[in-house]
């Protein structure tokens, strides 16, 4: 008697080999049989016409806080993600001494854009060490979690405020090594660090004050455990990124550890950015180093409102001058007919139809609901105005708090990105799930991989795409129990419709603590998700299953 049989689907097992018609039998949370499975089961999941694959693994998220009240990391799980890696970019929620909490909260808010209530009312913060954090999230997980520990919080624990002021002494480095060992023993899957991030006051996060000797010493500890080093390099400059790739390669070889850096994205403004980085990675892999670049699937959008100056307007000097002014003066200028006439004229003889017409009004702010999702061109026609005039007036009518989206402004060239994602040395990830909450949705990237790069572009086979976000990801991170449909492994399974899986439409949701807003995408084409053998999501709804684990 099986607990579950997933019957009659196209089994794509995460190895990259061709799929085959068959069944998957599950017992005691593990895959018990794959192929023609005979016998009975308490639950039958009919998968005819569907793909049956290992649950997807998302290697770059910031769900650290959300997991404390939402063990499914919604909506990640409904998109087929059964294992997430939080704690990226040098920040985790442990180890942190109680007096240091507020300092770290500021850093988290800078990255995640999480409302303050998330830290004050949503959970009882009763731990300091990593084991305590693990215990706190393990109470109600329905998704698996492979948590990184953040370099910045390790540094803060050992050095206090000096962690954001100076290099560490040898004694402090030794103390950090001991603390990292304690975290790895408690279930951390590796260490994250950042050369880029800042706190809420614009100050570099603690990890950025580390000298190479410190990173080298911490990497030595990772080597004792064979664990991952995750890095945010100076991705704004290709040459510096390549220098970091070289540095990671040396650490990988010296300490025999896997390393990964993120983000790496394509931009036509620097067309050789990604290709140069990948070429450097290939050189280092040939030497035996492991330096995995993480590349996201989704394109990058620009969003802005008139509440603060945006470089979106940098092509129009008059707009920049007006929007740079203090709020009161800015509103006065935007109400002045003579100024507005000049602003509109600047956008072109068509009143901004060509330059602004495709902007999309976003929800989640003060935008009237009936206009959400419409283009500025459509809104202008409704109002009987030129697009630029409509943008100004609509903003003024709503306290300037109307956000507009300029879609697919970067990392958008499918024909360039597809082959990069298909490269065996490129790690698909960098979703940032759980971060940038009020700016854009960080969910559904796995669905976009199938809709855009498998179905539409044919950049890789279905089997290759599945392997990239399951078996290969598990191998990269050393998650030995996950990523493939093989007898004996954990039964993380997703059943999806290969013709309809997608990332879903972006929409605002007010489900954060304190009714805080975030942008989300609901799943498309996902039938059923099992985590450790239990159905966690099916027929468009989450179940009460709480079978998620901290897995390493």
């Amino acid at each position: 008697m099986f607990d579950v049989i997933v019957r009659g689907g196209l089994v794509v097992d995460g190895s990259g080999t061709p799929g085959f018609r068959g069944d998957v039998g599950i017992k005691d949370g593990r895959i018990a049989a794959v192929g023609k499975v005979e016998g009975e089961a308490r639950t039958i999941v009919e998968a005819g016409g569907r793909v049956v694959a290992p649950g997807f693994i998302d290697p770059h998220t910031h769900f650290d806080v959300q997991l404390l009240w939402d063990g499914a990391a919604r909506p990640a799980l409904e998109h087929g993600v059964t294992c997430i890696v939080p704690g990226n970019c040098s920040l985790s929620l442990a180890p942190i001494r109680a007096p240091d909490r507020q300092r770290v909260v500021g850093m988290f808010q800078q990255i995640e854009e999480m409302p303050p209530e998330a830290f004050t009312t949503a959970f009882d913060w009763n731990w300091e060490d990593f084991a305590g954090y693990r215990a706190a999230i393990e109470k109600s997980l329905s998704i698996n979690v492979a948590p990184l520990v953040g370099h910045s919080v390790i540094r803060l624990w050992v050095m206090g405020p000096a962690s954001q002021e100076r290099a560490a002494t040898s004694e402090e480095i030794t103390a950090m090594q001991a603390l990292l060992r304690e975290c790895l023993d408690a279930g951390a899957v590796g260490l994250s660090t950042s050369f880029v991030d800042v706190d809420e006051n614009g100050r570099p996060v603690p990890s950025r004050f580390a000298q190479f000797e410190e990173l080298d010493a911490l990497s030595a500890v990772l080597g004792e455990y064979g664990r991952m080093l995750q890095v945010v390099p100076e991705f704004y400059a290709t040459d510096i990124t390549i220098a970091r790739i070289d540095q990671l390669a040396e650490l990988s070889l010296k300490h025999n550890i896997p390393t990964t850096f993120s983000p790496l994205f394509d931009t036509m403004a620097v067309p050789d950015n990604a290709t140069r980085a990948i070429a450097r990675v290939e050189e280092h892999f040939a030497r035996g180093a492991r330096v995995w670049p993480q590349m996201q699937t989704r394109p990058i959008d620009i969003s802005f409102s008139l509440l603060r100056p945006s470089l979106f307007f940098a092509r129009w000097p008059r707009w920049v001058r007006v929007l740079r002014q203090p709020l009161d003066a800015r509103e006065t200028a935007l109400r002045d007919p003579e100024t507005v006439a000049k602003l509109i004229a600047d956008t072109g003889p068509d009143g901004g139809e060509h330059s602004m017409g495709r902007l999309i009004a976003r929800g989640g702010d003060a935008c009237p609901p009936e206009l959400v999702g419409k283009t500025l061109s459509e809104i202008a026609k409704i109002r009987g105005q030129a697009p630029a005039q409509a943008l100004i007036d609509l903003s003024l009518e709503n306290g300037l708090d109307v956000a507009f989206l300029s879609a697919s402004q970067g990392h958008q060239m499918t024909d360039r990105i597809g082959p990069m994602l298909a490269n065996d040395l490129v790690h698909i990830g960098a979703s940032d799930g759980g971060a940038h909450l009020s700016s854009f949705s960080t969910y559904g990237d796995t669905g976009y991989l199938f809709s855009e790069f498998v179905r539409k572009a044919g950049a890789m086979s279905l089997e290759k795409a599945v392997a990239k976000i399951t078996g290969e990801t598990a191998d990269i991170w050393g998650l030995k129990d996950r990523g493939r449909l093989q007898p004996g492994l954990a039964a993380d399974v997703v059943v999806f419709d290969p013709e309809h899986i997608g990332r879903g439409e972006e929409r605002p949701a007010f489900d954060m603590p304190g009714d805080g807003m975030r942008y989300v995408r609901s799943a498309e084409g996902i039938d059923t998700v099992l985590v450790n053998g239990e159905v966690a999501y099916t027929a468009g709804a989450y179940t009460d299953a709480r079978a998620g684990k901290v897995c390493v």
């Binding site: 991705f235 704004y236 400059a237 290709t238 040459d239 983000p263 994205f265 931009t267 403004a269 620097v270 950015n273 990058i300 959008d301 620009i302 969003s303 802005f304 100056p309 945006s310 470089l311 979106f312 940098a314 092509r315 129009w316 000097p317 008059r318 920049v320 001058r321 740079r324 300029s406 402004q409 970067g410 990392h411 940038h436 700016s439 854009f440």
Partner: protein, 69 residues
Amino acid sequence: MSEAVIVSAEIVAGHDGSAELLVRLRHPNGVEGPIVLDEETGLKLMRNCGATHVDDLAGQSWRRILEEN
């Protein structure tokens, strides 16, 4: 004193969904390379350079980014 000079600039999409300023620099040794500035820093550079358009940045000293005003 030889110093890096801005060759060109353009607006690009940033990783975090903001508009950013990509500045291409020519260094004293003749090498050219790009660097991307976040929104706040990009606007500060334009202000320091008295630029009303990104094209106005061409020819300006990269050192202007250090100015406080």
